[in-house]
């Protein structure tokens, strides 16, 4: 049996009287991309900072690679790459110096550095410039490269796509997938459902400091309420949509907003008998997604 890469038991963190995270229990397996989804202030960053021993838990225990983080962090961190959510790089250093500086603290050689620099389209000229002259996106790329360059066994990423353009987001997703293929594990925090759906195997939903569900992405898709906006070229009675898993949110003349859960095929079969003018799947908000798990 494969040993869990991350094992969190009863993890609780309070900042004086303020809640950070409460009684979190989670196991993450090898070769898994685990999405950690929640709105801002839900406790995602607190959990990650606990995983990295930057802050200490009020209660509970964290094991990474089977070893307790509190006492074995020094050995564990040889095999971890981390992209923090909120950070300030050393502005007076050049990009290249920063990458080499971070690599010097690790026993892992930066074997992927050149490849990553190329993939994220940072030029030699960019890397020679001081970080204070970098844009937000460039700083984010540098933070990602420093985390991945040593080819670590476990990647912990806190909203790593923030500030990246779509092209570079795809580069990031490519490397995250490559790590998975190579049997490595990725802990990927985000507040974008679409992003998590796209790259993760499982997802933990966190809200107000509590882990409200852990689901496989395929299960999440089944359970999730989806929004469907549809306009017809002919008159359709709202009663037409009376079927299992479909609810009419609002309608105006022949334009309907439907809330659909479960299998979409029966609905599509039914509406295919009518002439459709337009069909849109608006991105549901995180709150709408979370509502699924409260019912």
């Amino acid at each position: 049996m494969n040993q869990d890469i991350i094992e969190i038991t009863g993890l609780t963190k309070y900042y004086k009287k303020n809640r950070g995270i409460e009684n979190l229990n989670l196991r993450i397996m090898p070769g898994e991309i685990f999405g950690f989804l929640g709105p801002n202030g839900a406790g995602k960053s607190t959990t990650i900072r606990l995983l990295l021993n930057l802050i200490h838990p009020t209660a509970g225990q964290i094991k990474i690679f089977g070893q307790e983080i509190k006492t074995h962090y020094y050995h564990i961190f040889h095999d971890i790459g981390n992209v923090p959510g909120e950070f300030k790089l050393y502005e007076e250093l050049s990009g290249q110096y920063f990458l080499d500086y971070m690599s010097a603290f690790s026993t892992r050689k930066a074997i992927l550095q050149d490849e990553l620099i190329q993939a994220f389209q940072l030029s030699r000229g960019d890397l020679e410039k001081k970080i204070r002259h970098y844009s937000h996106g460039m700083k984010q790329k540098l933070a990602i490269i420093q985390a991945l360059q040593g080819n670590p066994r476990l990647l912990i990423m806190d909203e790593p796509s923030e500030g990246l353009d779509p092209l570079n987001k795809n580069v990031l997703y490519h490397y995250v997938n490559r790590f998975k293929v190579e049997g490595k594990t990725v802990f990927f925090s985000s507040h974008y459902l679409a992003e998590v759906e796209k790259i993760c195997d499982r997802v933990g939903l966190v809200r107000e400091g509590n882990l409200i569900a852990v689901e496989k992405i395929s299960e999440l898709k089944k359970k999730m309420i989806r929004k469907l906006e549809i306009s017809f070229l002919e008159n359709v009675d709202p009663g037409f949509f009376q079927m299992e898993g479909v609810k009419v949110g609002e309608h105006h003349q022949n334009r309907f907003i439907l809330l659909v859960s479960g299998d979409l095929n029966p609905l599509f079969k039914k509406i295919s008998n009518y002439k459709i003018e337009n069909l849109i799947f608006p991105e549901p908000s995180l709150e709408e997604t979370f509502l699924t798990f409260y019912h």
């Binding site: 950070f87 010097a104 603290f105 690790s106």
Partner: protein, 268 residues
């Protein structure tokens, strides 16, 4: 477990090398010019005459008695506690712990560094190592400024006296560095850390001044921190050098230990 990280020391050196160079040149030049202005320049006689008219409380506070055989030695010793020299020595002790501990906690720069196999005690210990080196260089610069003036103006100074002052200064300024490290390790904010460290130094300086000037508070002078570094009294053999160094060393051990323990246990 690696407890020495040359790469971290190199980064601090890279950040601070020009500041150190400026402070070292300033210290050497200051002592040289100070010696020339107060002892050998055309205005030196006027300065000595002016000191004769100062109230005895002031001259006693400054440790300079004009018209005596000790005037030259006392005047040179005062150059080692001149406010500008004190500020230049305090610069690293005050600014570095605030920047590299509280400032990096505030900016969350440690979130990347400490997700590497890095022991937390690296930060306070290596800052202390750097400040030790910087203080040693500054002390040497100050003495060098005096020695150059000595050679040029044939002052016939006793080098041994100034070496003793240098040793006391080295440990005294390092004790302040250790105190600053301890204070900074409790703060999450660079500005607050700086305010508290500067506040403490100002308080200790005024405590020293008031307890020396006010006859009624003379007994409290025993507890003055600045009592550990009195160049005039060291040169005149009025205080025990070993006692001053030992007290500074005890303070260094206590506060450096507090800094390491607190930084290791705290949330970043």
């Amino acid at each position: 477990m690696t407890l020495v990280r040359i790469v971290y020391l190199k980064k601090i050196w890279r950040d601070q090398r020009y500041v150190l160079l400026v402070l070292v040149l300033f210290a050497a030049l200051f002592e040289y010019l100070y010696t020339w202005v107060f002892l050998k320049s055309p205005v030196s006689n006027f300065i000595e005459a002016y000191f004769k008219f100062l109230p005895s409380e002031i001259t006693s506070f400054l440790g300079v008695q004009a018209g005596t055989a000790f005037y030259q030695t006392q005047m040179l010793a005062f150059g080692y506690v001149h406010p500008l020299i004190l500020i230049s020595f305090f610069f690293f002790s005050i600014s570095m712990p605030a920047r590299y501990i509280s400032g990096e906690i505030e900016s969350k720069s440690f979130d990347i560094l400490f997700s590497r196999p890095v022991h937390r005690s690296i930060i306070p210990t290596h800052l202390f190592i750097f400040m030790s080196g910087a203080t040693a260089i500054q002390v040497i610069a100050v003495i060098t400024g005096t020695l150059i003036a000595d050679l040029q103006f044939s002052l016939l100074l006793r080098i041994y006296d100034y070496t003793r002052v240098a040793f006391v200064a080295f440990f005294f300024f390092l004790s302040l560095a250790a105190i600053s490290l301890a204070l900074a390790s409790f703060q999450n904010d660079r500005g607050k850390a700086l305010t508290k460290i500067i506040g403490l130094v100002v308080f200790l300086y005024f405590y020293d001044t008031i307890t020396r000037l006010n006859e009624g508070l003379k007994n409290l002078y025993t507890f003055s921190y600045f009592k550990l570094y009195q160049p005039g009294e060291i040169i005149m053999n009025k205080v025990s050098v070993s006692e001053s160094i030992l007290t500074s060393l005890i303070l260094i051990v206590i506060f450096l230990t507090i800094a390491i323990l607190q930084f290791n246990r705290r949330d970043l």
